[in-house]
């Protein structure tokens, strides 16, 4: 055990695992503090259990441990958001924080791995150019990113090669590829693996979208379709989104970067260790380490001149606010989260919706981002429409069933008997603009069991969010009709959830220290040596899943840390018994 570390990383998840691998491979001595367990494969050998993982949220923290409160606006009182099956056991477990433990959110994720589009990085300018400045949403703090797609492209590439992605590229070096997405941004190389096995319900969806003149492509996934770097191919078990993987086919840092970091001998990983606060120099300008509490309730101070927060966007914010780091008032601002716009159909064909992974399917980008057609609803930025054909167990199907059908008696029983095996789903995460009225701060009343304030979210769905769901719903309805759906229904454009594991933007990156929290490498402007990395850095938020960009930013931050002015090596390298 060292007295001082070259770096302390808080959270061994999606971004933290990658940074740990990069720093330890370069010879740095790293202490990793993870509030969940350090899982082994033994933990996940049999995980085909919908009650345990999906309904009871076995690998997420839960409302009793990690309360987050929510209110729609400043004139209402925030209440604790239910998750992990909810306070009364009736809510979706994944409308809450990501899973914890080694691998973090990448333990439970559905593995949809999208690069953002070129235009997504300059959303504000692109909207102003097309629709005029006056069209920008009133009160929005929408801005362009300080980096471009081209800046991030090499790091997207690293995620694909090092973490292991499957798919078919649409545009390699500017040349369109047969069978790929014709709207793809240019890339250097194809994915290292072909797409995973296609779910049976995706076949009619692809046929219908083609008949409509759309351009379906197989989704890029962080799941092995063949053996890759010592990990086997997916076996299509159908317990994926919300579940850990029993064969290591899913790309999670638990099986990619963390073992690689451990193998260097330079990583000291302390599991079940929850960081309580960040410690700084007396003038507050430099980081000195953190204080954490272990599983037995004992607190410890650990020291380093470099501390990297990779504990999820919201927990990064909570730690900074609890530690008094918010000189410019920007920490917690610009909260953005996805609205999923679920659309479910019953098809004439058997879809066997329990086979294969959630995303063993296709998507279209015909209406995504800047490609959104002119429309009467004022939607300025579009979304992909994604076909979901696998990973649907019976209890989740019951939660998704036709709201027009009785949920008791023979009508209910017969609907499940006759329709479950014919279900098909679509979703499109809608663009969520940042507003001054949507933010995260510390709850003045609710505390966790260690006496730390809970994070409070102030957020409500705006007209643009609801109109986006409605617009994309029209396109989905056309597809459903083309598929010959015998019945279909869609979510409310203003759904009841306000957390989704897709929460971003709350420690925005930027070049101006007055209007942002971190620089492009994740270093916090006001505190030298402190880094906050992940979705919290996002400046705007289109319709793609966030994680590949989270991981690309992790590689970018690691590179910044290893540059001469980044990582400040511990002054004392002597080992302490």
């Amino acid at each position: 055990m060292r007295a001082e570390y070259d770096a302390i990383i808080v959270g061994m998840g999606s971004a933290g695992g990658i940074i740990a691998e990069q720093l330890t491979k370069a010879g740095a001595h790293v202490l990793a503090l993870e509030k969940g367990p350090d899982y082994t494969q033994e933990d996940f050998m049999v995980k085909q259990d919908e009650l345990r993982y999906y309904q009871r949220g076995a690998i997420v923290a839960g409302v009793n441990v990690d309360p987050v409160t929510w209110r729609p606006n400043e004139s209402s009182t925030a209440r604790v958001l239910p998750w992990s099956a909810g306070a009364l056991g009736t809510d979706e477990p994944l409308y809450g924080l990501p899973s914890i433990g080694t691998g973090g959110g990448t333990l439970h994720w559905g593995c949809a791995a999208y690069r953002f589009r070129e235009a997504d990085f300059r959303m504000r300018s692109a909207i102003a150019e097309r629709f005029g400045e006056a069209a920008l949403p009133e009160g929005s703090s929408l801005a362009d990113w300080p980096i471009s797609y081209a800046d991030l492209e090499p790091y997207y590439e690293r995620v694909e090669q090092e973490q292991g992605l499957s798919g078919r590229a649409g545009n390699v070096g500017g040349v369109l590829q047969e069978g790929g997405n014709p709207f793809d941004p240019p890339r250097e190389r194809d994915y290292p693996m072909p797409p995973v096995a296609q779910g049976p319900g995706d076949v009619p969806w692809v046929a219908a979208t083609e008949r409509l003149g759309l351009h379906p492509f197989r989704q890029p996934l962080a799941i092995n379709s063949e053996e890759y770097r010592g990990r086997p191919a997916c076996v299509n078990c159908g317990f994926c989104h919300g579940f850990p993987c029993h064969v290591k086919a899913k790309s999670t840092t638990q099986v990619t970067s963390v073992p690689a970091a451990k193998a260097t001998g330079n990583l000291e990983l302390r599991a079940r260790s929850r960081v309580l606060r960040i410690n700084r120099s007396p003038d507050g300008r430099e980081v000195r380490g953190v204080t954490y509490v272990d599983a037995l309730g004992e607190t410890h101070d650990v020291f380093s001149n470099t501390v990297v927060l990779t504990a999820y966007a919201l927990e990064n914010v909570r730690l900074m606010l609890i530690s008094g780091i918010n000189a410019n008032g920007q920490v917690g601002q610009h909260f953005m989260t996805h609205n999923f716009g679920w659309f479910t159909s019953v098809l004439p064909e058997v879809t066997n919706p329990f086979m294969g992974t959630f995303n063993a399917s296709s998507a279209i980008d015909d209406y995504t981002s800047e490609l959104v057609p002119d429309n009467d609803l004022g939607v300025l930025w579009g979304s992909p429409i994604i076909s979901v054909t696998g990973d649907l167990q019976p209890i989740e199907a019951y939660h998704n069933m036709n709201p027009g059908v009785a949920k008791f008696g023979l009508e209910f029983k017969h609907w499940m008997r006759d329709k479950y095996r014919h279900m098909h789903r679509m979703y499109s995460q809608t663009t969520n603009f940042p507003y001054a009225r949507h933010y995260a701060d510390l709850d003045p009343v609710v505390k966790d069991r260690w006496g730390q304030p809970a994070l409070r979210i102030t957020h409500d769905w705006e007209d643009h969010d609801a109109n986006s769901v409605t617009l994309m719903g029209r396109y989905k309805e056309r597809i459903a009709k083309e598929m010959g759906a015998t019945e279909y229904w869609m979510d409310s454009p203003r759904p009841p959830y306000h957390l989704s594991t897709h929460d971003v933007g709350v420690h925005r990156m930027g070049l101006d220290p007055a209007t942002s929290v971190t620089n492009v490498h994740g270093e916090v402007h006001e505190c030298r040596g402190l880094f906050a990395v992940g979705g919290g850095q996002f400046v705007s938020y289109g319709g793609y899943n966030p994680n590949q960009t989270v991981q690309a930013l992790a590689y970018l931050s690691a590179e910044g840390l290893l540059a001469s002015n980044g990582l400040r090596l511990a002054s004392s390298t002597s080992m302490v018994a």
Binding site: M45, V46, Q48, D49, E50, L51, Q55, R56, L88, G89, T90, A197, Q198, G199, P200, V203, P204, C234, V235, N236, C237, G238, F239, H246, V247, E349, V350, N352, F354, M355, G356, Q393, P394, I395, A397, Y398, A406, K407, F408, G409, L410, F412, K413, M416, R417, Y420, R421
Partner: protein, 182 residues
């Protein structure tokens, strides 16, 4: 008379008292009814699932169930004129239908919440793994054609049009047995 009170559990009650268990068994039997040749929630052991869960994972809901069952009894007396277990099957179903309507019209009312909780737990006990005390003989999975805890599906099984009822159903226990033989 006393149609529902003939409930004789074939398992040890861990939280509910016999009358509460009989009432729950009657309620869940109307949420997922039994038919000739097609078992419902009662045959699936949903009441055992709920009782076991309340003594363990869902212990925080013990007061909700106690209070909910008391209010449910009062509701039955008020709307149908007798305690729930004294009503015949048709009258019992009518009480559930009324409660379902109330739950939709006034989602925040406690009795409606309690109904939705019992309904959720009925679905869990009917479609969850048998290891939790419900879904006996995997009757829930047989009903809908879900093959259960499969290690994986082959590309052939994933082809369009495959009849999933031809795939032997497996449970978590079966998978542990399989690992043991590896």
């Amino acid at each position: 008379m006393m149609t529902g009170s003939t409930f004789h559990p074939d398992f040890a009650l861990l939280f509910l008292n016999p009358r509460e268990a009989a009432t729950i068994d009657a309620i869940v039997g109307h949420i997922i009814p039994s038919e000739e040749g097609s078992p419902g929630a009662r045959e699936a052991g949903v009441t055992e699932y709920i009782d076991r869960a309340l003594s363990g994972f869902m212990r925080d809901l013990q007061p909700v169930y106690r209070e909910g069952l008391a209010e449910f009894e009062a509701f039955a007396v008020e709307t149908a004129g007798a305690p729930y277990l004294d009503l015949d099957g048709e009258q019992q179903l009518a009480v559930i239908a009324e409660l379902d309507e109330l739950s939709g019209a006034r989602p925040d009312a406690f009795l409606g919440q309690f109904y939705r909780i019992v309904r959720e737990h009925t679905v869990q006990g009917f479609f969850g793994d048998p290891a939790y005390g419900g879904n006996r003989d995997v009757v829930g999975w047989k009903l809908v054609g879900f093959p259960g805890a499969q290690w994986g599906y082959s590309p052939e099984q994933m082809r369009p049009g495959v009849d999933s009822s031809s795939i032997p159903i497996l449970t978590v226990k079966d998978l542990y047995a399989r690992i043991g033989s590896m």
